[in-house]
Symmetry: D2
Subunit: 182 residues, 4 copies
């Protein structure tokens, strides 16, 4: 049974809302244990515990919030102990074009630095709406395609954990029973 951690920092609640949907999506895959933690609540043990993690931060100035960055700097005692875990990212920005993609890339860069395997999602969650580098959102998700982008990210994370860590090859998204492009 695979373990998924959804880790987020949120100030105004938008990224927290995204995190909840990401966790909801991860729970759509059977036999995956999901923990939802803010940077205030998460312990190093949560990071060591998980097989895959989704990391979310608001977009501040086109990159990860200092608070989330600090969390990862404080994680240095577990460096070279989390190599190979699977990772992905999500971010809420002030407006479209405001840097959420860049923030997702910044968080994936941090995970690459820890030796993790990070991924994007080829699916579309609605018309002209995707999550190729993680789920991005202006403000908080409201429309169905926005909510579904968050869920799909969590689901895909849980699927990769199921396939690669638990050896459940039937859960590979290329055999998915749901529509990946509307």
């Amino acid at each position: 049974m695979g373990n998924v951690l959804v880790l987020y920092y949120s100030k105004d609640g938008s990224t927290k809302r995204m995190a909840e949907y990401v966790a909801e999506g991860a729970r759509q895959v059977s036999d995956i244990d999901v923990r939802l933690r803010s940077t205030q609540d998460a312990a190093h043990e949560d990071v060591l515990w998980c097989d895959g993690m989704a990391v979310g931060s608001p977009t501040y100035l086109g990159t990860v919030a200092a608070e989330m960055k600090r969390f990862w700097e404080n994680l240095l005692p577990v460096w070279q102990k989390i190599d190979g875990k699977i990772g992905c990212a999500f971010s809420s920005e002030g407006g479209w074009g405001g840097g959420a993609e860049l923030t997702c890339m910044a968080m994936m860069t941090i995970m690459l630095n820890y030796g993790m395997l990070v991924f994007g999602v080829t699916d579309y969650s609605g018309h002209q709406f995707t999550l190729h580098y993680g789920a991005t959102q202006a403000g908080e998700p409201r429309e169905e395609k926005e909510v579904e982008a968050c869920r799909r990210l969590g689901r895909r994370l849980a699927e990769w954990v199921a396939v690669y860590v638990d050896g459940r090859e039937d859960l590979h998204p290329n055999q998915a029973g749901y529509k990946r492009v509307p």
Copy 2:
């Protein structure tokens, strides 16, 4: 009188549409000469001629199209002759979250490599809509905030050329007569 080049590559017409709006925005500033050129039409002389340029490419796989990249590789004969020109970027992607910000950053990276000064825009062109790293768009711009983001990019480029190359300090955006945040 400053010179602005709007350079684009477009296959399905979306990026071309953006380019036209960017050129329109540049023309809002008086005494700026504007050229609109596709990668097929642009000559090295156009690049040498301009004081500032806006570069647009569709987002293909999260970065600049091979065709636009090829244009810049072919430009190597003018390397170290375009240092200090002012640059910015715009891109049309298949869907929101599809990599247009990353593509703008890729084009600005290329311009940095040529010694250019590149910029983003702090303004918002509508509710939850901005162009902090250049104008980004899913498909082609239709709504007013989308069209205005393209125009604003061109206008800001022309303003920086006016301020820095022509010494017209009264055109500094911090003294703008228009609303920069709605």
Copy 3:
């Protein structure tokens, strides 16, 4: 038995040299089949065949060469057929500080766009020499730490394929018999 593809584009031979060392490193892991292909020689079938791939391009203007980019654009017929493959990157630049890290990130961005899982390496291959975002090199590798960085990248790729695709958990780098930091 896992399959590893080392795919490269090289003009002056430096990236090709890196590619050969990357392939050599992948072969250090038992029961891994390795193919070494240039963009001229590689077929779509090679991409579909592999479980993991290392992608190498010279750094041209701080990002991937147009020729390599074109290869991936031509690969669109296999889009959503290569999700979940494991990827990493390497690049030769003209000088240190010349953009090889950015080029590795650009290639990983392309792979993310295809739904792949990409990774960096926490190991150091010598004093003040690492491959956190893939192997980077000014010119061609000559010193042992430079050659070893390429080999280590290939080895790590083969290890992840062994662990995740073949279920050979004993090959997880956290149990490696070799020194990961000198």
Copy 4:
């Protein structure tokens, strides 16, 4: 007379050493006032005062240190007051390939977000050694080409301030009396 701020955060002294060389390079241009400040010492007034700034941070996990990020988040009261200032970046990493280029890009992303004009340097400071995206260094600069890369960054910043803010066109690097490529 133009004003240049060299702003840095340093823990072990390597980035501080780089900052001192950057400031030294800026002082090579006549009639430029240079301030050297750490994030602990710098006031918002220093940022408002300058026409151009070089920003330096150690590379922590492939991106800007939380402490430097916090400085810029705390700067939000001057948002839309520093548009158009000229910026560049430098970073010390643990090892070559360790993310210093990515960290420079992260700092330039932050500056883009503030509406600044950021630049790279086409010059080489020695054999296979450049600063295309800002000065990067493993540990602290020791060799002449390493020291000169820092100096050149500061000099170029001061030159752009002289050319664009003070209208001293004779200082354009394309007319430089020194060798830009060895």
